[in-house]
Symmetry: C2
Subunit: 324 residues, 2 copies
Amino acid sequence: MEKNNAGIDIGGTNLRCGILGEGGTVKSRLSVSFPKSLNEAEKQVDFIIGNVKQFLSANEKYGVKSIGVGIAGQIDDKTGSVLFSPNLNWHEVPLKYILEKETGLDVYIANDLTAITFGEWKFGSGKGEDNIICIFVGTGIGSGIIIDGSLYSGCSNASGEIGHITIVSGGRKCTCGNYGCLEAYAGGLGIANIAKERAAADINGFKNIINAAGGGIDGISAETVADAYKAGDKKAAELIRETGVYLSDGVISAINLLNPCVIILGGGVIDGIPGLYDTVKNEVGKRALKASISKLRILKSGLGGEAGIIGAAGLAAMHAMHCL
Amino acid sequence: MEKNNAGIDIGGTNLRCGILGEGGTVKSRLSVSFPKSLNEAEKQVDFIIGNVKQFLSANEKYGVKSIGVGIAGQIDDKTGSVLFSPNLNWHEVPLKYILEKETGLDVYIANDLTAITFGEWKFGSGKGEDNIICIFVGTGIGSGIIIDGSLYSGCSNASGEIGHITIVSGGRKCTCGNYGCLEAYAGGLGIANIAKERAAADINGFKNIINAAGGGIDGISAETVADAYKAGDKKAAELIRETGVYLSDGVISAINLLNPCVIILGGGVIDGIPGLYDTVKNEVGKRALKASISKLRILKSGLGGEAGIIGAAGLAAMHAMHCL
């Protein structure tokens, strides 16, 4: 029987599982949405356990030896507990303990961006590189950092929160409580909030965006802005151009501070909004310190939506000392 | 005869030399100002050579084995050449080659903040710590980074440029060519520029600051703002309060991105403006991510103005494999 590692990606809306194959391939996969009725941590954990067990038994032939989990939130790296997950509203959930008890397998819990970054580093766009910042833009913005050939987790396992660097001093209020954070301007939620405010003040000018959102301002999201933009809407184009500049402010800050060899850009907002990646590349070339970009490459995610599964399984393999 | 290491700190206005003693002490020191007539790299290098040779021969009894140099600018870590030093307007100066030829000693060249950070890490406020960001605020703002117990130099030896992270998107033009950089707001030059602009628009309101500057707007500097503040001037107090918030924006950004264990704050602006350190401490406590500061300590520089000499000598000792 083969010896394999499974990866689990717990997002705010979806649960995804996969078996890591050779060279970063995924052999078998499962993707399910959290039912909206599951609004308590206990029920969500039960839902996760049920699906993971089903996935494992459907893939018994792969002989899964360990499970890696990537989840948005702060992880206690000693205990594998989820200290706080804002998306799921979890507080102090002993996820490693629960999953090990339920599956009988070794379980390793990581922050979602840590898992993604590990995946991109070992199997994706960062392969063979020693100094990487991997930035994913979705509802929020997060990053993972490889420094001198090691995953850098920080003093309390909380590094990489690039979404919460200040790009507009005293600016828009962020979900974290601070003001002017990068993700309040260039994350999916930030883009949607800015579009909603502007649409409310200029319903006629924003009619294409409002129509793309089904006719109501409340329905506006980063996706509907992207849809209006693709259909040629000028207000959407203006907003997306600004988003690109804001995102570049954050990326340039990280480049000037850390002088990485590679920046990897990924996530739903990067994948879903055409031109955003090119804007960042251009702005970095124009505005970052010349000394900081002399060897820099800016790349798109190589693993896309499966980076989380692949990276989590890879981390589990590394920590359980099973071969990668 | 003893075996010692010398440190040289080449600033924009002063040249300082010292012999590193045990535990980060300085046994003998020399500080001279660059004559203003020396406005070419060649003449400045001659001035440096002359003074270093004199310093070494006056301290012959210490048996100096190697020399470390800290200089503001970008260093080629392979050749020890100064690729570019904005303060001195040096381009491609082979400083290591020249100093080794002239002194017959091993010479190690480092960026000034790299030297300072190494000094603070080995002998100052960062002693025993593995994850440190050491931020010095003078005319500009720079930092050095210790990651997991190693000095982090980046992909092209250019890491730590915290002065050039964006805190005001599209804001004040910075000397680097970009807009909205931290040092354009909270560095000594930035503070002076903001004060000059405000004074020009409100001569009466700024009369105390103008008086502290000798009666002319052109004479306003961060020091004269600090002097007016200490004498109770309200406009100066307002400006310094804002400076503290801007500086905090940058420090918080670095904390959220890198989750260090220790932040060290030093340099002329921190030492010269009362309350700035406390403002940063308070703002970080209020506005940084809770997960990022759970183990964080914010400390003042332990070595003060001698951090550069001590760190440069320490780096030389480490690289020449002489005992520290």
